[in-house]
Every structure is written in structure tokens, then in C-alpha cells.
């Protein structure tokens, strides 16, 4: 990383720390600054409820936001490079839809088959359902992009797959109990608050492994920038590289979607911000850059979603989409110049 980018990176790490602290400080319940510090330093608090709120609720949701932002952005970056498509991302190419399908089948069909003891369904099976759904859809996209080089065709097919999946989910919904329906609907709103401190460990494990693994894929990703033919002639085994990228991105996007619900636009917009700010195409720089930018932005969205001072909680998916959509429009307008 050159000096300019090192400064950018450090600036984002500081921003991320500030945002992370804001996530702990702000929420529907007012907790004084000094108390937050005291709780974090493990000195306890005069109010046991405050301690509970910080440790059991705000800390896991702040960590979930950090992990989700990191993982989705890194996964989006890889997809944009692999598809050589600036509007690729977990959301547009139907991975979130795939994960939704997995979760919908899981939650809704459990109810349809009369299994009501939802608490028996462990977080691992939820991850698995979402990841399987995500991998299934990503492989379909992958096979299509393997045969077609036309970007527009791939996107349209991605949209159609998304449409087909919504239809399937609607059919499932019509057979489900109200309780299951509500559970699923809440899941689709997206939230960093469903994850408790025990589950955070699993999410962290998957995301950290996924991001480290992505970093190890930097060289193949850099080679893929020039397209498959140049990459092959530079000595890259395209097939195995692409399979690894598919697995890595699907597991990242799939597990995050399983835990936090669909979080739109982060995976699509953050890689563009990273490229624009760090002025590089090198994935060794872009992957850490996406990680810090994505984590900061998701943290910020988490703060906004918690609407400090009020009892309302907004759907995170709505916030990220409201912030992300303008970024995507900006990308398209900027590209028209060329």
C-alpha cells in the first residue's frame, strides 16, 4: 500500500472505531458515556440493566454489523471482478434471493410440516440452509456466465431467477402458519440484532476465514481483471480459481444473510467506493479497503436503524438500500462518460 492509501486505511480504521463506539453508546435507552466506558472496561455499572443492554444487545449487534459489512463488501468485490461486471453483487445476482429461499424453505416448511419447536433449530442449520440456497443460485449464475459473455443477459437472467424465487417463497408462505410467516418476514427486514453473543462466534469464524481466504485469492483475482484469456495465458487455472471464488463468496454472503437477513446494496456499492477512494485495482489493497469501508457503513446503518432516543427499530435492509441506491446510480452515470 502506498503512503496515501495507508493514510486512507488508518482513517477508516479510526472511523470504524468511532462508529463502533457510537453503536454501543446510542440506542433506544439512554446510557451515559461514562457508564458505557466503565462497562466496556469491565468495571461494571451501577445499573445492572445497562450492563445487560450493552453486553447482551448492543455489543453483539455492533459486532454483527462489523462482520456483515466486511463480508458482504469483500464478497461483492470478488463477484464484480469475476463477472467483470460493475453491477454484480450478492443482491443483484440473486445470492440473497437464494439464501432467502433456503431460509424460507427452512422456516416455512418446518411450520408447514407441523414442526413448531423452532428453538430446536440451531444456528448452524440456519447457516446451512442459507448457504445451500446461496450456493445453488450462485452456481446457476456461474454456469450461465460460463456460457454467456453478455453481461446484460447474465443480469436479466439473475433478475428472472430472483423473480422465480419470490414466487416459490410466496407459494411456501401460503401454506405456512402465521407465526412462521412473521418470523420469515422479520428475517427479510434484515437486522444485526438477531445474533446473540454465542452465535456471533460462529459468524465471526466464517467471516474471518472467508475474508482471509479471499485475501489469499488476490493474485487470481488480479489476473481475472484482464479477462479469462489473459488470465489463462498468464498461467492461471481458471476453472479451479473460479470454483474457489464461488465457494468463498457464497459462504460469506450466504452465512451473513442467514444471520442478519438480506442486507441490500452494501456488497454492490462498497467495492466502488473502495476503488474510487483508494485508486487501485489491486485486490491486495481492495480487500482490506472493502473490509474497513463496509464495516464502517454497516455500523453507521446500524446506528441509524436503532433510531437513538426512540423505541422504533428500522429495517436495516431499508437503510442500506436508501444509502446504496444513489451510489449505484452515481456509478452508472459516471460510466456513461466513457
Amino acid at each position: 500500500m502506498n503512503p496515501r492509501n495507508t493514510i486512507f486505511f488508518i482513517a477508516f480504521v479510526i472511523l470504524l472505531s468511532v462508529v463502533f463506539f457510537l453503536e454501543l453508546l446510542l440506542g433506544s435507552v439512554y446510557i451515559p458515556f461514562s457508564e458505557v466506558i466503565s462497562i466496556l472496561l469491565n468495571n461494571g455499572s451501577k445499573n445492572g440493566a445497562w450492563q445487560n443492554i450493552i453486553i447482551e444487545s448492543r455489543l453483539p449487534s455492533a459486532l454483527a454489523a462489523l462482520l456483515a459489512g466486511t463480508g458482504l463488501s469483500v464478497s461483492g468485490l470478488q463477484m464484480q471482478t469475476m463477472f467483470r461486471n460493475p453491477v454484480a453483487g450478492p443482491y443483484v445476482l440473486g445470492i440473497s434471493a437464494g439464501a432467502s429461499l433456503g431460509v424460507a424453505i427452512f422456516i416455512l416448511s418446518a411450520s408447514a410440516f407441523g414442526i413448531h419447536e423452532m428453538h430446536l433449530l440451531s444456528s448452524w442449520s440456519l447457516i446451512l440452509a442459507a448457504a445451500l440456497g446461496a450456493i445453488l443460485i450462485f452456481f446457476i449464475n456461474f454456469l450461465i456466465s460460463y456460457r454467456l459473455s453478455d453481461v446484460v443477459a447474465i443480469l436479466i437472467i439473475g433478475l428472472m431467477i430472483g423473480g422465480g424465487i419470490s414466487a416459490l417463497i410466496e407459494i411456501l408462505q401460503s401454506f405456512s402458519s402465521n407465526e412462521a410467516l412473521k418470523k420469515y418476514l422479520l428475517w427479510t427486514f434484515g437486522s444485526f440484532r438477531y445474533v446473540d453473543l454465542n452465535q456471533i462466534f460462529y459468524l465471526a469464524l466464517v467471516v474471518v476465514l472467508g475474508v482471509v481466504f479471499s485475501f489469499f485469492l488476490s493474485k487470481p483475482l488480479n489476473l481475472l481483471l484482464l479477462g479469462d484469456t489473459y488470465a489463462t495465458s498468464s498461467g492461471l487455472n481458471i476453472r479451479s480459481a473460479k470454483v474457489l471464488i464461488v465457494l468463498c463468496t457464497s459462504i460469506l454472503a450466504g452465512s451473513i444473510t442467514a444471520f442478519c437477513g438480506p442486507i441490500g446494496f452494501v456488497g454492490l456499492a462498497v467495492p466502488h467506493l473502495a476503488r474510487a477512494l483508494f485508486k487501485t485495482a489491486d485486490h491486495k489493497v481492495l480487500i482490506p479497503a472493502c473490509a474497513v469501508i463496509g464495516a464502517s457503513i454497516c455500523g453507521l446503518c446500524n446506528v441509524i436503524a436503532s433510531t437513538p432516543g426512540s423505541d422504533n427499530i428500522l429495517p436495516v435492509n431499508a437503510i442500506t438500500s436508501l444509502l446504496g441506491a444513489p451510489v449505484v446510480i452515481w456509478i452508472i452515470l459516471r460510466q456513461r462518460k466513457f
Binding site: 489473459y230 489463462t232 495465458s233 498468464s234 498461467g235 492461471l236 487501485t280 485495482a281 489491486d282
Partner: protein, 245 residues
């Protein structure tokens, strides 16, 4: 180092052969123009020689080694390519772009060693890209981009460089400059340079020989001589007169 083809057939499957009975040999220091009408199979032949596409029969030998038995990593140290397709990559500097050519030699993280950096600087000087090296690839002209693509291939340090229509989309001055550079590369760096082109006159001025793919599906090699140009033209004119009759 010698590049040889023995009774090579090209095509997408063995039952879809588009050109057969191709035999040739090329030695280091030679620059070869591949000529023929659109759709005759020039690109397919170049892709096959590059190892990007399986042959439909026959052999390609690079030195003593059979091309098709080589793993991708080994092939990348023998043959580099420059394609016609336009490349759109934002935020990559010319120097970073050229450095991608070092990937067959770098470690799994793609870190450039001192030797890689030395080769990179050497290539930048050879291709006269010193002034452009810190610019972004998407901000330079088409002619400059072509030079960068050639520099990337040179950086790969392969005895064979294959270029698919390197002079297409270029104005006269850029064409001349690119062909001059390629010619000096083939002589001075002792490389086999094979390029397909439709710029017959321009390419004949610089090539040591040319390969014709005629409409009668014959593969003909013509060596540089006093009557080089007229020979090539006769064969090409023969083609057109045949196709009109």
C-alpha cells in the same frame, strides 16, 4: 528455441475442422505475419498455437516439448499473448498493468521480487513507456494501450509472443510505431513474434516471413526476398480472382 507445427488441424471439435494440414517452423529472432481473409481461421490458429484452445489433430512443439502436455503454469513461461478485445479496467496504473505479466514467476501472493522489478523497468524502457507508467490505463490512447499490452506480454519473458491483429484500430503512425517496436523486439531480444494482420503492406515491411491462409485452405509460407511483396500479392490476388470466377 524453435516453434513447430506438424500436420496441425484447427477447429472446435475433431468433427468441426476449419483448417488442416498446417506445418511450419519458426526460429528465434523471426517476426511472422499471418495473413488471410476474415473468417479463414487466423484467430483460431493463433489461439491453438497459444494453447488456449485444443488442436483438432497434429502436434505443436515448443522447443522439445509438446504444447498440449504442458501445464498452464509452464505454458505461461513459453508463450505470451496480445488479444484484440478491448480491456476496461479502472484504477490500474500502466506500471501495475505491465507487472501482471510477471505472474508466472511471482509467488502465490503475486509479490514482485527484485528480479521482477528489474525486468519490469527494463520492459518499460524498451517499450518507451517511461512517461506513461504512472498514468491510469483507462486514460491513455488506443495506440498507447496497445504498447502497454505488448509490454505486459514482454514482461512475461517468453520466447514466443503471439499477437492477434495488433495494428487494428490504430492510425498510420501508431501502426508503424507498433510494428517497428515488434520488429526490434524480435531481433534484439531474440523472440519469435507471430502476428495476424490485415495491414499487408505495413506488416510486410517489417516481417522476416509471412504465413498465408488461402481460400483454397492451403497454408503457405513465404520467406522474405526481393519479390516478397509481389509474391504475397499474387497469391492474394489469385484468391480474389478465383473467388470472382
Amino acid at each position: 528455441m524453435e516453434l513447430k507445427a506438424e500436420n496441425l488441424s484447427i477447429g472446435y471439435r475433431s468433427d468441426k475442422i476449419i483448417f488442416s494440414d498446417i506445418s511450419f517452423s519458426a526460429c528465434e529472432g523471426e517476426m511472422i505475419a499471418l495473413l488471410g481473409i476474415n473468417g479463414i481461421g487466423k484467430s483460431t490458429l493463433l489461439r491453438t498455437i497459444s494453447g488456449l484452445q485444443k488442436s483438432a489433430g497434429g502436434n505443436i512443439l515448443v522447443g522439445e516439448k509438446k504444447l498440449e502436455s504442458l501445464p498452464v503454469g509452464e505454458r505461461a513461461k513459453l508463450i505470451s499473448i496480445v488479444l484484440t478485445e478491448k480491456i476496461f479496467v479502472d484504477n490500474i496504473s500502466v506500471k501495475e498493468f505491465i507487472a501482471l505479466g510477471r505472474s508466472p514467476y511471482t509467488n502465490w501472493m503475486g509479490k514482485l521480487s527484485d528480479e521482477d522489478l528489474k525486468e519490469l523497468d527494463k520492459v518499460i524502457v524498451v517499450m518507451k513507456l517511461d512517461k506513461l507508467q504512472h498514468k491510469f490505463f483507462n486514460q491513455i490512447s488506443d495506440g498507447e494501450k496497445q504498447k502497454v499490452l505488448i509490454a505486459r506480454a514482454l514482461c512475461q519473458q517468453t520466447p514466443v509472443i503471439i499477437l492477434d491483429e495488433p495494428t487494428a484500430f490504430l492510425d498510420f503512425r501508431n501502426k508503424k510505431e507498433i510494428l517497428e517496436l515488434l520488429s526490434s523486439v524480435s531481433h534484439e531480444l531474440k523472440k519469435i513474434v507471430i502476428l495476424s494482420t490485415h495491414d499487408i503492406d505495413a506488416s510486410l515491411a517489417y516481417c522476416s516471413k509471412c504465413w498465408l491462409m488461402t481460400e483454397e485452405r492451403k497454408f503457405i509460407e513465404i520467406k522474405r526476398s526481393e519479390k516478397f511483396r509481389s509474391e504475397v500479392m499474387n497469391l492474394l490476388f489469385a484468391e480474389t480472382s478465383n473467388s470472382h470466377s
